[in-house]
Symmetry: C4
Subunit: 205 residues, 4 copies
């Protein structure tokens, strides 16, 4: 039993911040509770020193259920978390970060999927194949976040992703998993792959 996942989310935010993926208050993390509501980081809070007051609890439709600090609003990108939890009932955590590498590799293709290199690290997503072909779903960025959320919902209802991750162009990556701990490692895996892709490009591989 883990009734309050905020402690782990604070741990994750601190580490992601230190890696440069949540600087300037960027990004947002959430974890779903048994009643289908979820705790999500409040808008504009410093990810390097979150406290339990820096979260808002919302239901799956985005209605605020609890605000430890009445001045805070849920993350501006809450609607993306909602569609992830709606599309993937087994998802218990959803993390979104803004890395430099994620921004850059999102421009390696003009299509709607980013082909990943066939690295040993893909086993971390449960892909045990020799030279696997894996594309990460890629979405356009819109000023209106709900429009991004709608496009995610539409695409995943037609064809679910092979890996639990999606990328928004010039914006950042989102992952989901059946526990906050697994989502942490998925973020590490995708960011490892993005850094690999950048380094490979730098040496013209």
């Amino acid at each position: 039993m883990n009734p309050d996942p905020r402690k782990y989310l604070i741990y994750a935010a601190t580490n992601f911040y230190q890696k440069g993926w949540m600087v300037g208050t960027a990004g947002n993390l959430s974890a779903r509770l048994p009643d289908n509501s979820f705790w999500i980081t409040a808008s504009g809070r410093p990810k390097e020193r979150l406290t339990e007051q820096d979260f808002v609890r919302v239901d799956i439709d985005g209605q605020v259920l609890k605000k430890p600090n009445p001045n805070f609003r849920p993350s501006a990108e809450t609607s993306i978390h909602q569609v992830i939890y709606q599309c993937f009932p087994e998802a218990k955590a959803c993390y979104h970060v803004h890395s430099i590498e994620g921004n850059l590799v999102s421009n390696f293709t003009e299509g709607n999927g980013l082909l990943l290199p066939s690295l040993e690290m893909l086993k971390g997503f449960g892909i045990w194949e020799e030279n696997p072909w894996v594309e990460m779903p890629l979405f356009e960025n819109h000023l209106e976040v709900n429009k991004i959320a709608d496009e995610i919902s539409d695409r995943f209802q037609e064809s679910p992703a092979k890996i639990p991750a999606l990328l928004i162009r010039n914006h950042g990556v989102t992952v989901w998993a059946n526990s906050p701990e697994s989502a942490y490692h998925y973020i590490e895996l995708v960011e490892y792959i993005f850094r690999y892709m950048m380094a490979a490009r730098q040496i013209s591989f």
Copy 2:
């Protein structure tokens, strides 16, 4: 009420040092008090382990009001902080750091403004536009700091900056904000953008 901002400035300096932006004693941080005077880092002090003794309090004209350590002088670049506080009455903190990336991107143009890429991260400056056009004011470096300060003052009296940041060529960036905490995140945002610009150039984007 936050009568003494030095604790936060020490926190900020430690973190900026660890990111490589204040090495070799480089850079200077200040915060304005209600009486319009400001605490600024003393010249030549190690940014990785500042104490409250490592600051000098000066008035808006640069006159020293208080020196916890009588041997210390205010930062050699105090005059730049003065003009920022004079030009922007709402500014309560002003930070200047020396990153490698800030030095390099300052040479990406020969003009007096650096065009920034239209990244999601610009929302951190309150810019909510689709594909925003944002130029960071760029100034020449001079051995005589007062000459830099005069050029900043002259330009900002004519046309204030769209974002609270300016860059000095081959030298480093300066930001200002209405609180020490916001100035911290602005430094992170501009340095994120500089690293992005460097990485994009490395892969010939």
Copy 3:
């Protein structure tokens, strides 16, 4: 006397994780005991916060002797550790990590050995020569780990390595040493050399 090497392995894993070489639970570390059995990290455990429960003790033939946590299995790559301990009786520790640079430099040649640059740092492997010629043995990656292990065993029985390190293509490096402390420094040395090779390639040296 150091009857339980797990404390040091935890220290090593934490540091390797922080350097980005064991993210997403990747990699595995082991240390051999006087009875020829060895402690090895359990499969899929987070390397950033291992405890003594996160290891399994196996004999040199890979049979499990002790499982502090009955749910854990030994690392999926235990067979590689076995062949290292079989081929090198003096080896007391064996570490395998997944760095981005190790993956990339493994593609600098199509052959079965990677020529290292003649850096001062090679002295750390006990090589005291002017401009030494050192090749790191390079193996193909296979989905079936036992096949990798067999190829390592076959090659080393014919010709032992000049340095105690081997590289698996698109996967990562493995080192061994006569103490856990030396193996730690060997990992640092090979990763230093990989980063050097990447940086040299970036500037077209």
Copy 4:
């Protein structure tokens, strides 16, 4: 009065290690005492966790005066520290580190001096000029360390360096200063400049 400088040297080694400049036990640090002897790191000790036992005290001619741990020998490069202290009577500390960038930039020229970019950061060496011309003395690496030391001694007796730093090709940088604290910042300054030179080369500046 600071009768035992080892505490500060331990602090410096820990930080340099974390920046990647003293990995795999590489590098050596010393500080001179009033009697002209100096404490220097013992050979092969891990720089990430030195203790006061990991130093040896030698006189200016290299004779061992004190060994807290009788098994340890002074650094293999003690002779370089000796010539620095002999050539520069005001030098109280001498540090030598092995960075990747220092190795690479040492090959940017075939001559015996490395021209540094005219960055604001050069003020940290007390150089207050507009666009200063500063060359760092560059020496060839030899397997026999005494030969390097002799060449340093010969050159500096003829023409002292403009900045308190020298570079050995494919090996690393050495700095000296009138206090352990200043030597620490000099290492930071030279490594900053090396990283700048590498980054500039990567983008073909």
